[in-house]
């Protein structure tokens, strides 16, 4: 593949499957594919499908954790119910008209878009750096994984300590550098709480992005760069014209999974700013209802809505990003 334009690269333009085989070979391959897929599907059905269906079912009942199994089916009342007061006024109740819920949706979406955007950019930079040859690369590669390797419950507490207004080191550094004039109560004030969560999340998950992108970069044949170098093409141009299109599939998958994780973010917020309405996300509010407030069904309805919202996001992303699901087009 010496051609550096992937759109016309012959190897990539052909479908991934060998198409020389006879029909019986094709059938044999399909049979094998079935047996290859079966174990995964069974495993996923057990651990995922069953609990998911239970939750969706619970969202249509009046279940509480104290009374999980004698719940009555109440239809969509947890989502929306219309009640007529004796005065004749109609009121609406349920998650869909719950301002706390929509606040959480807004928080989550804002958080996800900002954090994933930053993580993608930083992840790309880090991956490009790690892909270059330099002394001590192994050490740096291990070092950047540290944030991802520390358990979230610990790193969130650790950052909480570092962000503390009185004895936090971050305020101390910023004060010494003269960047701020007085100590900031990062996690307390509503203006900075979201920033604090974002800082910690970007710090924590950039390595995930970087490593996945790096794996993509590693699969780009070296001679492409060499060809570009010989032709004297500017590195930035090489990046946008060659590297980026080639790692695009890997990048897209990395972004999807980060997006899914970000939209479900729970533990970081739960530990760092547990009850601040400025950072409360969908998962946090759903847990709060299910466990703390003993409104299991209501929380289950919120979880189901969260599922729906994520599905819409992913569908939009796949559609807009033209992610090729079946791998049959554009090759």
């Amino acid at each position: 593949m010496p051609d550096i334009n992937p759109n016309t690269a012959p190897a990539l333009a052909t479908p991934a499957e060998p198409h020389k085989g006879s029909p019986s070979l094709q059938r044999q391959r399909q049979r094998a594919a079935f047996w290859f897929l079966a174990p995964m599907l069974i495993a996923l059905f057990c651990v995922a499908a069953w609990p998911l269906m239970r939750t969706i079912y619970f969202s249509l009942t009046d279940a509480t954790l104290s009374n999980l199994y004698d719940a009555k089916f109440i239809g969509f009342q947890n989502y929306l119910q219309v009640r007529e007061l004796s005065s004749g006024r109609t009121i609406y109740r349920g998650t869909l008209v719950d301002p706390d819920w929509w606040n959480a949706v807004w928080n989550t979406v804002r958080f996800s878009v900002v954090s994933v955007a930053f993580e993608t950019v930083f992840g790309l930079i880090v991956a490009l750096v790690l892909n270059a040859e330099f002394k001590g690369r192994g050490f740096v590669r291990a070092a950047i994984l540290i944030p991802w390797a520390i358990p979230t419950i610990v790193s969130a507490k650790m950052w909480g300590w570092m962000l503390n207004d009185q004895f936090g080191i971050l305020n101390d550094i910023l004060l010494n550098l003269g960047l701020i004039s007085q100590r900031i109560a990062w996690t307390a004030s509503t203006e900075t709480a979201m920033k604090a969560v974002l800082i910690v999340d970007i710090w924590k998950t950039t390595p995930f992005m970087a490593l996945l992108i790096l794996a993509g970069l590693q699969m780009v044949p070296r001679d492409m760069y060499e060809a570009a170098k010989i032709d004297g093409i500017h590195p930035v141009k090489v990046f946008f014209k060659v590297t980026l299109p080639l790692i695009r599939p890997a990048l897209m998958v990395a972004v999807i999974f980060r997006m899914l994780d970000a939209l479900r973010i729970f533990d970081l917020v739960y530990v760092l700013t547990p009850n601040s309405s400025a950072t409360k996300t969908m998962s946090v509010i759903s847990r709060e209802n299910m466990i703390d407030f003993d409104k299991f069904a209501y929380g289950a309805a919120q979880s189901t809505l969260l599922f729906g919202i994520i599905a819409v996001f992913v569908a939009a992303y796949i559609w807009i990003g033209k992610v090729d699901l079946s791998g049959e087009k554009s090759r």
Partner: protein, 426 residues
């Protein structure tokens, strides 16, 4: 499917219960779940030994993270599944009423024992006339003050919040003028969490503003005294308390205090021993007093009741043995042992006169007075809805403290919200 599953599980439980009752008394293994706090697990093994020797049963311990929210969630899940794996649960003071449906009524079994404890403690564990848990030890906050600084500036220990505000401001200004730039007048717990409910309940109660929801279930929070209490607290933020106090829990407050950067602190007894540590900047320079009171009619000193209790699971297959263990653990003798081992505050008034205990815990007499003014959080009347009530309350308070709403406004909204949650009844 799962309904049948759980029924068959329960069926198995009943069957096992019958076997137990039918069989002659044999050595049983009792499962006790406890939060792993400090040396609680080791101390528990020690305290339970006499009971094991006497009855021949063994107690096996299931530990939980010290984070109470994780612990509570796990209890809920276990009890919801009707698991018979756990016989006794060690519960926070606000939990048992919320989980009352899953616990055995101990009124009858503890009819001799209950009157020996502080009345407010027993009241806090009584839900719908059902005694759902027995007290193990208790906890109540007090006002920590810097003796040296009060003396230096010729001040008395404040008995009202107004005095505290004035004293704190004066000392803070004077000390800062002398170069102690990091000194603050008063630190407390202002983060939006259960701890703020405790702090704010004390302010409201000390101003004679009731206790959010009264024992009979009436919502009393929207009243002028409560408004006055919250206005007072809101005025502290940024003056005698750092802005960051709005994110403080117990440890952050202790951090400021123990490095010598606060004149007053509201905190639980645990901070006493730690502040007397060798590396503490305030060692030997402080003392404790009951929390100040407010102004106006019905003003009094108030301290929110904390502490831990033991409850017997309804799904236990060895209920009789479990109840016997619960009674043993809550007895005055065992509480005394526990105080000696773990420096926990007993719930039996007479133990506060016990000289050996006082030698072990020099702060004990100071806390007896604190307990006389202790006020339970409204978990008994609000039952399963307590957490939601508490969350609404602390958010309303937090909004007031951070200046996003006036006290009067947020309490009025809070009243409407609580009415909504209450619905037809708690």
């Amino acid at each position: 499917m799962s309904k049948r599953l759980s029924q068959s599980l329960r069926g198995a439980g009943v069957l096992a219960l019958m076997t137990v009752m039918g069989a002659p008394a044999s050595a049983e293994e009792i499962n006790y779940v406890i939060g792993s706090v400090g040396n609680a697990v080791e101390a528990f093994k020690e305290t339970v030994k006499p009971w094991e020797e006497e009855t021949g049963h063994t107690v096996s311990i299931v530990t939980m993270p010290s984070s109470t929210s994780d612990q509570f969630a796990q209890y809920r899940l276990w009890l919801a599944a009707g698991t018979s794996d756990i016989d006794l649960y060690q519960t926070d003071v606000i939990w048992a009423p919320q989980l009352a449906d899953h616990f055995v009524d101990l009124t009858e079994a503890a009819k001799d024992l209950a009157p020996q404890h502080f009345e407010s403690v027993i009241e806090s564990q009584t839900s719908d006339g059902k005694l759902v848990a027995l007290p193990l030890f208790t906890d109540a906050p007090a006002l920590y003050y810097r003796k040296d600084l009060l003396e230096k500036h010729g001040k008395e220990v404040p008995t009202t919040w107004a005095e505290l505000t004035a004293t704190a401001q004066e000392i803070q200004d004077a000390e800062r003028a002398e170069g102690a730039n990091d000194l603050w007048g008063f630190v407390w717990q202002g983060n939006a969490y259960e701890g703020l409910t405790c702090d704010a309940l004390e302010w409201v109660k000390s101003f004679g503003g009731g206790q959010i929801v009264e024992p009979d279930g009436t919502i009393s929070i929207n009243n002028p005294q409560a408004v006055a209490a919250l206005e007072q607290a809101a005025a502290w933020v940024g003056t005698i308390s750092p802005e960051g106090v709005l994110s403080y829990q117990e440890e952050e407050a202790r951090g400021v205090w123990q490095t010598g950067n606060a004149v007053f602190m509201r905190n639980w007894p645990y901070a006493y021993t730690l502040s007397q540590g060798d590396d503490s900047a305030v060692k030997g320079k402080f003392d404790v007093a009951p929390l100040p009171m407010g102004d106006g009619e019905g003003a009094q000193s108030a301290a929110t009741l904390g502490g831990w209790n033991v409850a017997v699971s309804k799904y236990s297959t060895k209920q009789d043995i479990a109840i016997d263990l619960a009674l043993f653990l809550a007895s005055p003798e065992t509480q005394r042992t526990r105080s000696l081992l773990e420096s926990k505050l007993p719930t039996v008034p007479e133990l506060y006169e016990d000289q050996e205990l006082i030698d072990n815990m020099p702060f004990l007499p100071a806390w007896k007075e604190v307990f006389e003014n202790s006020v339970p959080r409204p978990s008994a009347p609000t039952k399963g809805k307590y957490n939601e009530v508490s969350a609404k309350f602390w958010s309303a308070v937090h909004d007031t403290l951070s200046g996003r709403a006036t006290a009067a406004e947020s309490l009025e909204i809070l009243e409407i919200d609580l009415e909504d949650i209450k619905g037809g009844g708690w």
